[in-house]
């Protein structure tokens, strides 16, 4: 069992003014091994908080979250992270970034080199091993970040808007790459995104979260990710069902946003 199980997860922040913000309220979900979950929601709905709790960077106020029946008590290698941008170590080359985790564990260097080559080929960066990362484009940098995370062979991959800073064309290529890697490695993935299309395209399951307090508003099970493995992603976007789902979720999020505006005024 490599399930990620969350039970009555609550997260309450205290602002310096003394107000309390209920970032997450009574979150209950189970993620089975090999599932790809996308999380969508307006800003301030607790998506990133959820991811940080899963990664172990912050501890929940109450409730518990377990991976493989083990309580998450801090950051660990079994949960890899991919950030939006700026998380690469720009003083290192591509290969040094990718093998960072293995070097920290002081693994055998020849074995490490073999793995690095292997992963660079998977993400399409063969031959870039000695390039300094600051010379890479945004899309290539995210490929490095993916390889750096996957080389550690984590059980769960947490992606915090990994494609958010890329241009549309690169983004589409990267979406295919994420699907390809998911299929080939069979990893459990949680992917947070702002883009409704991306959430629909990549998510085997999709949570739409609502703010104040942060909670799961609606859950979908989607066929598009499976389709995406075989078809061109642009074809899927023309799919009727895809279109209606997109409109449904968009209007849902619009309503949430309006509700927030109303509350504030």
């Amino acid at each position: 069992m490599t399930d990620l199980i969350s039970q009555n997860l609550n997260m309450i922040f205290k602002t310096p003014k003394g107000d309390t913000v209920h970032a997450l309220k009574d979150l209950n979900f189970t993620l089975k091994k090999g599932e790809l979950l996308t999380v969508l929601g307006p800003s301030g709905c607790g998506k990133t908080t959820l991811l940080n709790i899963a990664a172990g960077f912050i501890k929940p106020t109450s409730g518990n979250i377990t991976l493989n029946n083990k309580e998450i008590e801090g950051p660990g290698v079994e949960r890899g992270m991919v950030f939006q941008q700026g998380a690469l170590f720009e003083w290192l080359t591509v290969a040094e970034n990718v093998n960072f985790g293995l070097r920290m564990k002081k693994n055998d260097s020849i074995e490490t080199q073999r793995k690095v080559d292997e992963w660079l080929e998977i993400v399409g960066l063969k031959g870039f091993g000695n390039t300094p990362t600051y010379q890479l484009s945004g899309g290539m940098q995210q490929r490095v970040a993916l390889a750096r995370c996957l080389i550690n062979d984590p059980d769960l991959i947490l992606m915090d808007e990994p494609l958010g800073a890329l241009d549309a064309l690169t983004r589409e290529k990267m979406q295919s790459l994420v699907l390809k890697i998911w299929k080939e490695t069979g990893k459990t993935i949680i992917l947070i995104t702002h883009s409704v299309e991306e959430a629909l395209l990549l998510g085997e399951r999709l949570y739409v979260m609502a703010p104040r307090p942060g909670r799961i508003h609606k859950e979908y099970k989607l066929p598009f990710a499976e389709m995406g493995l075989k078809e061109d992603l642009r074809e899927i976007k023309k799919n009727k069902e895809f279109g209606s789902k997109r409109e449904e979720i968009l209007s849902m999020i619009w309503n949430m946003e309006e509700e927030i505006m109303g509350k504030e005024n």
Partner: protein
């Protein structure tokens, strides 16, 4: 010779570059509008013009061009200056350079003084009427002295004939001065003069005093006339000096005046004696009146017209000597800007920009001289190496207590007076460096000392500052605990600490290194702290998820991430340390570049001052360029992350 070539080259370079620049403007396509930064690119020829202009200004205002093209001009101008010096006193008596006769202005001043004192006496409540009457009578008697001097009929025949005599002497001097062989120098005199000329050396000569190794400017401008023209002026100046002395000894005192002033002085003396202590004010006024009377007595007041003959003789001679100067006058005006050569007493000196702006050629020669390790400055070379035995370095590094903690005792002499060495004694010899090994070259000298101080101060600052700064950037306790300490001493200008630190730690290296350590420490702490606290959270998170330990994150993430900030801090610290060091060496010390400048200042060695300025500039530039290279090599990702 070199200066001549350089000067001509500069002219060629400036004119050539300007012509090239003008042609470039004409041929270039004007596709860049005003405001386009492209227009500022290139332009090495303008750099040449700029540098050449600076050098030209330096050559010109230091009078090096004059020295190069007219090496004898300073000596000749010195002789001219001697004439001006002798003439000055005489000319001063007449309205030649002044507006009025000296006699006229003295009479004006003394009458004014008498009027002032008269008014004071009349208005003061501190004197009684009787005193006032007496004092006012003294004043009128004093003012009556002046007509006794200015009356032509009263002037004595003896005085008149003496004035006539002197006028005649000046006329003879003038007529002689025109002659080609004027000084009528004998062969023996000439040999003696030329011997003196060969001994005195050239203009701005530098002599190394043997033995002491110190550099002295022996003379600025050679005094003994080297040319015939100079000799003419020199001899005329001497003759004039005699006449001038005679004139100033002469007093225009006739018998009427003598009796009058004697009577007045006596009267005032008796009056003052008759006054008691309570009448001090009246006594003071009487004293002031007698002072004015004395001034009239000793001033050279003559009747109007009595000196007319002499005046015309002096004017004649003055005009003559000016026309005799000829081309020299032009050189003085054109090639000696902002000053000239002046004579005072037995010596001549440069007065003006040529004095404090050393000639490039002199500076260059002196720099080469000072670079010689046998000369240096104050017996210490600027930069040289000495052979040092490695043993003394080992002895310096190893602490002596290593021998002390060994078991056993140090050897004691036996009753035969023999000392038998044991193991402990041998170890002591090693840790104190008392043995012979091979020798290695070690640099030393003023420049090395300054450099070493900056280097050591900086290294200590980095060793302590960087870890502390990183710690402060990551830990609330460390930040709170050390912040007050640093913020308390950091804003104080480093030099304000210098007197305290130097008096506690001594004027030698320890004090200065500590001062520089203080300077670099605060800079390093602040930059390392900024670097550590500026690490992006996502990088830290990523490192955590990749399984790095705390120590590994510090070593492999936070430290490299702070490196740009730390290196920039080092660059700032080097600049600050360099500035502070030179000033600290001014305050106290026995070596170092700042010390050299400070000593040179005391002896008005302007060349040395400029040399030290140049060395400091070059070293500062060297530090900065080196660090910039290091920064570019070590943190190429800076600003691109």
């Amino acid at each position: 010779m070199l200066t001549q070539i350089v000067t001509l080259l500069i002219f060629v370079a400036i004119i050539g570059s300007i012509l090239y620049g003008r042609r470039l403007i004409k041929t270039e396509k004007v596709d860049a509008v005003f405001g386009n930064p492209e227009r500022a690119k290139g332009g090495t020829h303008w750099v040449i013009v700029g540098s050449a202009a600076i050098l030209l200004i330096w050559l010109y205002y230091s009078w090096d061009i004059a020295k190069a093209f007219y090496p004898k001009s300073a000596n000749e101008l010195c002789q001219v200056a001697k004439i001006n010096d002798s003439l000055m006193g005489l000319k001063y008596q007449f309205p030649i350079d002044e507006r009025e006769f000296k006699s006229t202005s003295i009479i004006k001043i003394e009458n004014k003084n008498l009027k002032k004192i008269e008014k004071e006496i009349q208005n003061t409540p501190d004197l009684n009427d009787e005193q006032k009457i007496i004092l006012l009578r003294f004043i009128s008697k004093t003012s009556q002295l002046i007509p006794l001097l200015t009356n032509d009929y009263l002037m004595e025949a003896n005085t008149k004939s003496k004035i006539k005599e002197m006028s005649e002497e000046i006329r003879i001097l003038s007529s002689n001065f025109k002659k080609k062989d004027y000084p009528f120098e004998t062969e023996a005199d000439k040999i003696e003069r030329l011997k003196a000329v060969s001994e005195q050396g050239g203009w701005g000569i530098i002599k190394v005093q043997s033995g002491t190794g110190s550099i002295e400017n022996t003379i600025e401008v050679p005094v003994v006339p080297e040319t015939n023209k100079g000799l003419k002026f020199h001899t005329a100046a001497e003759d004039l000096k005699v006449i001038s002395d005679k004139f100033f000894k002469l007093r225009n005192h006739n018998s009427n005046f003598k009796t009058s002033i004697k009577g007045l002085k006596n009267e005032i003396k008796l009056y003052r004696e008759s006054l008691d202590d309570s009448e001090e004010i009246a006594s003071d006024y009487a004293k002031n009146i007698v002072k004015i009377a004395r001034r009239i007595e000793f001033a050279s007041i003559y009747p109007p017209g009595a000196l007319d003959e002499m005046q015309s003789a002096i004017i004649e001679f003055d005009n003559l000597q000016k026309s005799e100067q000829g081309g020299l006058r032009l050189i003085d005006i054109i090639l000696f800007p902002a000053g000239t050569i002046v004579a005072s007493g037995p010596s001549c000196s440069e007065q003006g920009s040529g004095r404090w702006l050393p000639k490039p050629s002199d500076t260059f020669n002196k720099f080469i001289l000072m670079s010689k390790p046998s000369v240096g400055y104050k017996n210490i070379p600027l930069l040289w190496i000495e052979m040092m035995d490695v043993s003394s370095i080992i002895g310096f590094i190893l602490p002596d207590w290593i021998a002390d903690i060994l078991p056993g005792n140090y050897p004691v002499h036996t009753k035969d007076g023999i000392v038998k060495e044991n193991f402990k004694g041998k170890v002591l010899k090693i840790v104190t460096g008392d043995f012979k090994l091979f020798k290695i070259p070690v640099p030393y000298g003023h420049i090395w000392d300054s450099f070493l101080r900056v280097f050591l101060g900086l290294v200590f600052g980095i060793i302590i500052g960087v870890p502390l700064g990183l710690f402060m950037g990551l830990n609330r306790f460390a930040k709170g605990f050390f912040d007050p300490l640093i913020e308390l001493y950091r804003p104080v200008p480093p030099l304000a600490w210098a007197p305290l630190i130097i008096s506690v730690l001594g004027i030698d290296n320890t004090g200065k290194v500590f001062l520089l350590f203080m300077v670099s420490l605060s800079i390093m702490i602040i930059s390392a702290r900024a670097g550590a606290s500026g690490t992006q959270l996502s990088k830290i998170h990523a490192a955590h998820s990749l399984g790095a330990s705390k120590r590994q994150i510090l070593r492999y993430v936070i430290f490299p991430n702070s490196l740009p900030e730390i290196l920039t801090g080092i660059r700032v610290a080097v600049g600050m340390c360099w500035g502070t060091l030179v000033a600290a060496e001014f305050l106290a010390g026995t070596t170092g570049i700042g010390f050299v400048e400070n000593v040179a200042k005391k002896y008005f060695q302007y060349e040395v001052i400029w040399i030290t300025i140049f060395i400091m500039g070059m070293l500062g530039l060297l530090f900065d360029v080196t660090l910039r290279k290091i920064i570019d090599k070590t943190i190429p990702w800076r600003g691109k992350g």
